[in-house]
Every structure is written in structure tokens, then in C-alpha cells.
């Protein structure tokens, strides 16, 4: 069984990439999804706020997913459910197991990686204290509550103010639980401002910035949690402890792109994003293997995932149709002062469609600064920013004529004080 494109992952990234590849003339496309249904994590995000950019309207997660699932089906794109990719090879063989199909080894001309991300766990942050039931990542709690229909606790402390944590503070409150506090180790929240207002402030849930959990108590089930203020080195300050009696600790302490499959084929991983290094068409370090969505870098809005994945879908289509110029060596994008990473990491101008969109995150909170795009000492573009925060992805669009000004092998973006 051969396909032109195999898409690994049937969440928002995989769906958008598959549909876009079909729209660009690719006939034989297979989407491989490991869960029971398409849609990915969107299916458990029953709150609204999705689609403002892509559809200019506000949808819930399942509604947003449904539009793409319907379009996938209308386009007769083949998909497998409960199907897990064990391995991909340099020859672009995709090894899949599923209860219905057995063991499949599918040869593809191009592969699009869209496996999304996973949550950082209590273990990964070396959580001090006991390891009882009642400690959940926010996404797991969200799955239990929104998809399985079961509550996970009654009195809750949340560590980390990532978006899922904030959403879950509201969700658990609405389900009758008492959310006692949200602690965030950084001096600012990693979540969207609108989520802090709508999910914490509106429910009088206190947010303790520069605080972390210093002890989990309880042998079998969580019985209490201690939080404390941290110094500038993120070390707890003795004497600042606050004790909570609670049965639940939710964690929203970061997301990690899931690149185990990418590693089976030896893709180069960017240590900053934890995702594969990609170029202007979202192609990874291996020709014909593309990647998009949270497997590349963690996005804050699904709308941006969709846009990026469409780019990957077009890129894979052009690859299959031999329309990509692989002979040229492009320039690298370099994260300068104040920038933690830029995607894509390399660009071949010859393959850029109309404009080049560069996505990045900043390292800190900034007010009244500008993003400066430079090639050598030459400033190519500046963008004024009244406010920037690590929790909100930034992006800059470079037009073709701006791209023509780039000489040399690098493009630097940095944060500069205004004036």
C-alpha cells in the first residue's frame, strides 16, 4: 500500500495539512490517528475562543475540529483511528499498528509529522513530597472531566498558569470544585491575558506569581499542598509558605513537543523549541519529511497551528509534485537579544510563496519596544510592540521585496528599546 503523503496525527495540525495537500492536487493521502477519534486535544477543549483568526468567529474546540473533520471527509481523505506509528524510516516507510488493520508498513513519498505535544509532569519538575493520587496534569484532568464525564477532586490547587491550567481553574469551579489558588513560579503568567481575566479574576481565584509548590502531602490521596514564594533564582524563600488543605493538585507547567517518532528517523531537533528544525515550507532536516503544529513548537492559538499546517500541506504537495527547489542553500534565522526561538529556522527564498511568516517567542515581558529584523548590520524591518510576553507568540511577515534585501547566510531578530 503506497500513499503520496502520510500525515501522522489527526489533530488540528494533521487535519489542516492533509486538507491543504488535497487542495493542492495530491490524491493519495492517509491520516494516522492514535486516539479513538479525529480532532486531537481540541475535542476536550469545550470552552470557546477558537477560530477568531481562521473563521472570524468564536468556536469551541470540538466545533473548530468538526469543521476540519467534515472537510477531510468531504475530500475523501483516508484516515485510520486507534492507529499508532511505531517508526518511520529514511526511505519514508511508516510502520503502523492498529487493532483493525494489524501491522502496516506504508511507503510514502512525503510524510507530515503532526503529533502535537504532551504536558510536563510532576516527575519532570521533580515535585517535592509524596506521590499520591490526586496529582494530575491539567490536560489529563480536562480529559477526565470533559470527555469521560468524571470529576477528579473537590479542593484544588493549581501549579503553573499556562492556558490549560487557567481554563481548568474555571472549569473545575463551574463543576462545583473549590479552586484555592494558582501558583506560578515566574514573575509573570505564561497564559493568555484573556484567560487570566476570564478564568481567574472573574471567579476571585488568587494568582500567586513567583510562587511554587514546595511540598505535596498525603500518602494515598493528596491531603495538602504547601506553596512558597521564590527568589530570583526560583529558590523557595523560607517563611513564606502557605499551606492548603486540598485533595487535588493540577499542573500546568509546560508543554513538550512529542518527537519520539521524529527521533526514530534521526531528525535534527532544535533544543530551544524541542521540535524539529524546519524551513520555509515546514520541511525538516530530512527531505520530504514535513512537520507542523505543536510538534514543531508550542503554539498558544490553534488558529496559528492551522495556518502553519496549511503551509506544511502545501509544502508537502509541492515536494510530491517536484516543485520545490532543493538545490539552494538558504539563510538561517537567528534568535537575537530577547528572543528565545524563531520558526522556521532556515529559509530558502526561492521556495517562499508570497510572504514569509516568522514565528517567535520572547524571553521576558516587554513594554514599548520594537522587534528588529536585521541582515548583517542592515535593518530590514522593524515592528513596534506596546507589549510582549513569553506566553504570547509573536510573528513578523516579510514580503518578497524585503526578503530580497537579505544578503549573507543569517537573519537576526532581536528586541530593542524604542527610540
Amino acid at each position: 500500500m503506497d500513499y503520496e503523503i502520510v500525515v501522522i496525527g489527526g489533530g488540528p495540525a494533521g487535519l489542516a495539512a492533509a486538507i491543504e495537500a488535497r487542495k493542492n492536487g495530491v490524491q493519495k493521502i492517509l491520516v494516522v490517528e492514535r486516539d479513538r477519534e479525529l480532532g486531537g486535544i481540541l475535542q476536550q477543549c469545550i470552552h470557546n475562543g477558537f477560530g477568531l483568526h481562521v473563521f472570524k468567529e468564536e468556536l469551541t474546540g470540538p466545533e473548530y475540529a468538526e469543521r476540519f473533520i467534515n472537510e477531510l471527509k468531504e475530500n475523501n481523505i483516508t484516515y485510520l483511528l486507534n492507529a499508532m506509528v511505531l517508526e518511520i524510516t529514511q526511505e519514508k516507510e511508516v510502520h503502523i499498528v492498529s487493532p483493525n488493520e494489524g501491522y502496516l508498513c506504508i511507503k510514502a513519498q512525503a510524510i507530515i509529522l503532526a503529533m502535537g505535544c504532551r504536558e510536563r509532569t510532576a516527575g519532570a519538575i521533580a515535585m517535592p513530597g509524596t506521590r499520591p493520587a490526586g496529582v494530575y496534569t491539567a490536560g489529563t484532568a480536562q480529559r477526565f472531566i470533559n470527555m469521560e464525564g468524571y470529576m477528579v477532586g473537590k479542593k484544588v490547587v493549581i501549579l503553573g498558569s499556562g492556558d490549560i491550567g487557567l481554563i481548568m481553574a474555571r472549569r473545575m469551579t463551574l463543576e462545583g470544585a473549590e479552586v484555592l489558588a494558582v501558583a506560578e513560579i515566574l514573575p509573570f503568567s505564561g497564559g493568555l491575558t484573556r484567560n487570566i481575566v476570564q478564568c481567574l479574576d472573574d471567579f476571585n481565584i488568587p494568582l500567586y506569581l513567583s510562587h511554587t509548590v514546595t511540598k505535596v502531602k498525603g500518602h494515598n490521596r493528596v491531603e495538602g499542598v504547601t506553596i512558597a514564594k521564590v527568589d530570583e533564582n526560583r529558590r523557595p524563600i523560607p517563611g513564606t509558605e502557605i499551606n492548603y488543605d486540598c485533595d487535588t493538585l493540577l499542573l500546568s507547567v509546560g508543554l513538550i513537543p512529542e518527537n519520539e517518532v521524529s527521533k526514530t528517523v534521526g531528525l535534527k531537533i532544535d533544543p530551544k523549541t524541542n521540535g524539529p528544525i524546519v524551513n520555509e515550507v515546514m520541511e525538516t532536516s530530512s527531505n520530504g519529511i514535513f512537520a507542523c503544529g505543536n510538534v514543531v513548537h508550542v503554539h498558544d492559538l490553534v488558529d496559528f497551528v492551522t495556518e502553519e499546517s496549511r503551509r506544511a500541506g502545501r509544502g508537502a504537495a509541492r515536494y510530491v509534485q517536484n516543485q520545490l527547489d532543493n538545490s539552494v542553500i538558504g539563510f538561517e534565522t537567528i534568535a537575537g537579544d530577547g528572543i528565545s526561538y524563531i520558526v522556521p529556522q532556515s529559509v530558502r527564498i526561492e521556495n517562499v510563496e508570497a510572504n514569509l511568516d516568522l514565528f517567535m517567542r520572547v524571553r521576558n515581558i516587554y513594554h514599548n519596544v520594537k522587534l528588529v529584523v536585521k541582515s548583517g548590520d542592515k535593518v530590514i524591518k522593524e515592528k513596534k510592540k506596546a507589549h510582549m510576553a513569553p506566553g504570547e507568540m509573536e510573528h513578523i511577515t516579510l514580503k518578497k521585496d524585503e526578503l530580497q534585501q537579505i544578503d549573507g547566510s543569517t537573519l537576526i531578530i532581536e528586541v530593542k528599546e524604542e527610540g
Binding site: 492514535r34 486507534n82 499508532m84 511505531l86 510502520h95 499498528v97 492498529s98 487493532p99 483493525n100 488493520e101 494489524g102 501491522y103 508498513c105 504532551r118 504536558e119 509532569t121 510532576a122 516527575g123 519532570a124 521533580a126 515535585m127 517535592p128 513530597g129 509524596t130 506521590r131 499520591p132 493520587a133 490526586g134 496534569t137 490536560g139 489529563t140 480529559r143 477526565f144 472531566i145 470527555m147 469521560e148 464525564g149 468524571y150 470529576m151 477528579v152 477532586g153 473537590k154 463543576e175 462545583g176 514546595t214 511540598k215 505535596v216 502531602k217 500518602h219 494515598n220 490521596r221 523557595p236 485533595d247 513538550i256 519520539e260 527521533k263
Partner: protein, 477 residues
């Protein structure tokens, strides 16, 4: 009346139960927990020591090396992963060099085979990622790695299949003397027996004190550990210890049988025998110390931290004997490291003690089957074997745990075996969903659902681990 009641279903209790099952005896294995191997056997360094560091003349020194030798056979019979990867005790200076020489000499006395003292060049040829400051090492090729709880689970299963009765959730509250024998009073009924074998780990002193005046005291020592993700698992090929000190065998880094990296432990006496909390400062100490062995350990790859207790005896040695003045009451106490490494030899010794009491008829069990039905580890099968397995049973095609590639068929099997899993952690211990980098974030709800279905229970009633470790509270509104 039972012939023997064994208290505690850790690796000692389960091993001894299986050895006694070779004879026609009525055997009862008790544990207060809702699963076997839930305490010290669950949380330790997972090492089969070669036997050079336990002092010659002590029981620890006597049993370790002979026990070590017996692991290939028992692991083959029970289909338990065991890898004789060898160990290095590394030295940084002249003082360490002296310690290493002493260990070598002690090892010779204990009967440890094939040890060698390596110079700087040799040790760096064996391990590329270790610190350049390391100038010598004691190499012991017989040391190995194992999953202690998987061993104990396999032993329990095999013991039950050979006629041992296993009662979990059974806490011993008191023991009375009968003439002859004992009455063991528990929260789950009273049981009469000719002999008692006390394998109660950190609680062994308390169990012993139920029949005699205190003759040893357990002072639990806590150790904190890190488990790192599998891309760190091959950074070393051997178990690498720093030189032992009064704080134990020295911080180690080692691959695990499942391909992770384990780093730890520290050592601190604690007063509470239930204190399994990890401590930030202690973990920081472990990290700092381990980085001296290799600065290539990437601690951002940590997927789990845990702490375990060692059942250290006030006597400084194992307490393995029939209690004076309590005929037929046998202690296996003070059972800390190298308890796991010694257990095959210790179990044989305990069987001899039982026989020599003359309290039970000694007839061979002709039906004893030492082999456990093999376990399918899907992730380790070849492509052809995977294809075959899925053809046999389509549930081998359903991957439940994506991090460790565990199939639904494996999970169902581990629930229905003797001494099978009843909790989310029970499944995790047996087949590994939840052991990986997502720590059960994705597969937890699925495992819960499978347990409920297979055990015919409500999903809310499926526990994570021990009593009252509920995961779900109620249905949503």
C-alpha cells in the same frame, strides 16, 4: 491450620513463598497493601550487587555473592528481565584508590568472581561519558540490573500457581502463641499456623515484637532517586558507583532494564516508616554528586523522582534466624541492601531453617512448576512477531501507552494473571503504562477504563494505588 504464614509480600516474602511451594506445605502469604511489592521492593536502586561491599563475616557478605549467581536461572524460569551489565566503583583520588583496594579484597573473601582493578585508561575505554577526573575503578562483571517489583510480582504469581494462598489488604494486628504454633490476628480474619516467617520490611521489628522482647530495631533510611528518559539510558554501560562512605554504597548512575537511567540514592535516617516524600535539598545533593561521575547527565530529561526506605537494622546486618524462645518464628529482618541481591541464597537458607525446625512434614511437591507463563513484551518483539501477535489477538494492535508502547492485550493479561493487577499502579508495575515520559497523562484514563471493564467494577472504584487513593470523585453535573 497453615504450615507456614509469610508476612510481607515484597521480594523476600514472595521469594521464600515460592521456594517453600516446592514442598507439600499449606502456605499463606499476607500483605497489608493491596498489591505485592508495594513498599521497599517498589522503590530502590534495582541493582543485583556483585557482593564486594558487604563486609565478610556478616550475613550480608555471606549471601550476596551466592545469591547473585542464582539470578540467571530464576529470571529465566519466571521470564523476568535481568541484565548482567557489570558494575564499576570509580575513584577520584588516592583515598578512593585505597577504598577500592579494600573492596576488592573484601570481595575476594566474599567469593565475588572475576573482579579487576582498572587504571584510568581502562575505565575510560569502558565508559566514554564519565568524568576525566576518575582515575581508577573496581570492575565487577557479575553485577546486574533488574526490575525488583517485576521479579516479586513474577514470584508471587508463580507461588500462587503452585498452591500458595495470597491474601492482600491483610494487616497483621497481633500474633499469639499456640501450643504448638501461632495465631496471626489480622483485619481480615485470624489464621493459625505452625510457623511464621517475618518478611515485613521496615515493619519487621514491630511484627517480631508481637512474639518476643525486642531484639532488633528497624531504623529506616530514606533514599531519593531520579529516573531519566530513555535517550539518557545508554549514556553508561555499567552500574557506576562512587566509593562507599558512611552514607551507603555511594551515589550511582545506572541503566535500567527498560532502558532508562537511574540516579541516586542519598541516605538519611527518618523516623516515620511511611515517609516516602522526596526532598528537594536531598535531590539537589544527589544531582550535584552524580554530576561528579558524569557531567553529561541531562537532568532536564528527568521523568520521575521517587524516594524509598531501606529497612536498616540496629544490628547492622540481616536478621535471619529462628527467634530464640519462639519456636517456628523466623525473622528475615534488617532486610536492606544487598537484600534483593542475596534473596535467592537467603530463601534457600530460610527453607533449611524451616525444614530443621521439624515442625512440618517435609515432602517434595511433585507438581511444582518453576516456570511462569511467558510475558509478551510487545515493544521488544520483531516486526514479524508483532504481526503474528496482532493476528492472534487484535488487542495487541491497540497501543494504550504510547511512551512505552504497551498494548491493551498486555494490560488485560496482567490483570488476569495470578496475583494480578487491580489498580492503576498495579498495571504500571507489571506492564509499564505510566512509567514513561508522559507519566500516565495520556494512558491513565484508558488504563482505568480497562481495569473497570476487566474487573467488572465502576470506574470510580478503581484506585490509583493504596487504600483511599481514588482517582475520580463523582460523575460531572
Amino acid at each position: 491450620m497453615y504450615d507456614v504464614i509469610i508476612i510481607g509480600a515484597g521480594v523476600a516474602g514472595t521469594y521464600i513463598a515460592r521456594e517453600l511451594a516446592r514442598y507439600n506445605l499449606k502456605l499463606l502469604l499476607l500483605d497489608k497493601e493491596n498489591d505485592v511489592a508495594n513498599q521497599t521492593t517498589m522503590a530502590n536502586s534495582a541493582i543485583i550487587h556483585a557482593g564486594y561491599d558487604a563486609k565478610a563475616g556478616y550475613k550480608k557478605g555471606k549471601f550476596n555473592a551466592p545469591g547473585n549467581k542464582m539470578f540467571d536461572q530464576v529470571c529465566d524460569e519466571l521470564d523476568v528481565l535481568f541484565k548482567r551489565c557489570g558494575s564499576l566503583v570509580v575513584g577520584f583520588d588516592e583515598n578512593d584508590q585505597r577504598i577500592i583496594k579494600e573492596l576488592y579484597e573484601n570481595g575476594v573473601k566474599n567469593g565475588v568472581p572475576d573482579m579487576r582493578i582498572l587504571d584510568k585508561k581502562e575505565v575510560h575505554e569502558m565508559e566514554k561519558n564519565i568524568s576525566d577526573a576518575i582515575c581508577c575503578a573496581l570492575y565487577a562483571p557479575t553485577a546486574g540490573i533488574i526490575s525488583p517489583f517485576e521479579l516479586a510480582i513474577a514470584l508471587a504469581e508463580n507461588a500462587v500457581d503452585n498452591g500458595v494462598t495470597l491474601k492482600l489488604n491483610t494487616r497483621v494486628e497481633n500474633i499469639y502463641r499456640l501450643e504448638p504454633g501461632y495465631k496471626v490476628v489480622t483485619n481480615n480474619g485470624d489464621f493459625e499456623t505452625r510457623l511464621v516467617i517475618n518478611c515485613a520490611g521496615v515493619f519487621a521489628d514491630e511484627i517480631c515484637n508481637m512474639v518476643t522482647k525486642p531484639n532488633f530495631e528497624i531504623k529506616p533510611r530514606k533514599g531519593n532517586y531520579f529516573i531519566l528518559d530513555k535517550d539518557m539510558g545508554d549514556m553508561v554501560n555499567h552500574i557506576i558507583f562512587q566509593c562507599p562512605s558512611d552514607k551507603g554504597k555511594g551515589i550511582l548512575i545506572a541503566p535500567t532494564v527498560h532502558g532508562n537511567l537511574i540516579v541516586g540514592p542519598d541516605s538519611e535516617f527518618v523516623t516515620d516508616k511511611n515517609d516516602l516524600a522526596t526532598e528537594s535539598e536531598q535531590l539537589e545533593y544527589v544531582k550535584k554528586t552524580a554530576l561528579l561521575t558524569s557531567d553529561k547527565i541531562q537532568f532536564n530529561k528527568v521523568i520521575r523522582v521517587f524516594a524509598g526506605l531501606r529497612a536498616s537494622s540496629s544490628t547492622g546486618d540481616f536478621v535471619i534466624e529462628e527467634v530464640e524462645g519462639a519456636k517456628g518464628f523466623i525473622n528475615v529482618g534488617g532486610y536492606e541492601s544487598p537484600g534483593l541481591s542475596s534473596i535467592p541464597a537467603v530463601a534457600e537458607y530460610v527453607v533449611t531453617i524451616v525444614k530443621n525446625t521439624g515442625l512440618v512434614d517435609w515432602v517434595k511437591n511433585e507438581n511444582f512448576n518453576p516456570r511462569r507463563r511467558p510475558v509478551v513484551r510487545f515493544v521488544e518483539l520483531s516486526k514479524e512477531e508483532k504481526i503474528e501477535k496482532i493476528k492472534e489477538n487484535s488487542k495487541f494492535g491497540q497501543i494504550v501507552c504510547r511512551c512505552e508502547t504497551v498494548t491493551e492485550a498486555e494490560i488485560i493479561d496482567c490483570i488476569h494473571r495470578s496475583a494480578g493487577a487491580t489498580t492503576v499502579k498495579g498495571v504500571k508495575k507489571r506492564t509499564r503504562p505510566g512509567m514513561g515520559r508522559c507519566q500516565g497523562g495520556f494512558c491513565g484514563p484508558r488504563v482505568q477504563e480497562i481495569l473497570a471493564r476487566e474487573l467488572n467494577k465502576n470506574i470510580e472504584d478503581i484506585l490509583y494505588d493504596g487504600e483511599n487513593s481514588y482517582v475520580l470523585t463523582e460523575q460531572t453535573k
